[in-house]
Homo-oligomer: 132 residues x 2
């Protein structure tokens, strides 16, 4: 795999760990230092302890929906890189940046941020059209 493929694979592994509620894998994905995370609606979490604690809560929450990742685009910058993608959860779309840092052979996450995409009024109206 080249660097871009490795970045996209690391991003895919994040969603695999999330959706299979694999907390050990999620813990490995996150780097040891200089991490931050902004979940939708949350204040920023700074540092590994706060970030990992948030995932422990999310991955053990029986009401947590699956995240579908699509439209992933990787941007490489030396030993760091980001994947810009779309998360779909329960029919809602979020614009996401996942940042990784190369550590040895692995790409480990240093920042995750998901921002809800406002739904156009036209799309909100679509379900009612289907009733006709």
């Amino acid at each position: 795999m080249n660097d871009i493929e490795e970045l996209l694979a690391a991003n895919a592994e994040y969603y695999r760990a999330f959706n299979s509620r694999d907390f050990a894998a999620m813990s490995r994905i996150w780097a040891d230092n200089h991490v931050s995370c902004i979940h939708p609606g949350w204040p920023a979490l700074m540092g590994r302890d706060a970030v990992i604690a948030s995932y422990r809560g999310i991955l053990t929450n029986p009401l947590q929906e699956r995240l579908e990742c699509s439209d992933a685009l990787a941007i490489l910058s030396g030993n760091e890189g980001r994947v810009i993608c779309v998360e779909t959860v329960n029919g809602m779309a979020l614009a996401v940046a996942n940042w990784f840092k190369r550590e040895g052979q692995a790409w480990r996450m240093i920042h995750h941020q998901a921002t809800a995409i406002a739904t156009p009024l036209q799309k909100l109206a679509e379900p009612s059209k289907r009733l006709n």
Copy 2:
């Protein structure tokens, strides 16, 4: 200034340019390549042309409110760095990550993302208390 101070100064310059509607300065702040931007509610913008066009619209919008930046924390990683901060606009708070890359003597922006922070019900109720 040390690197952290330079990063915080670059972040402050972003908000100065924004609030003074200084499009030329905003254009200088953004790097030439590998930029991305996620405004609240928007899909991700990829590439300098799309990002700069968005700021042209925002900075010439007479209804655009001022952004107040607070709680800025810088995290340095070699020639890149991020500032995690809070934007307050019209009483609403957003959790923000601003990413910069060193280019010569300058720190130039490579990614901006702002995510609305959900307001606790208790805070929503506060204004009515003031009426008593």
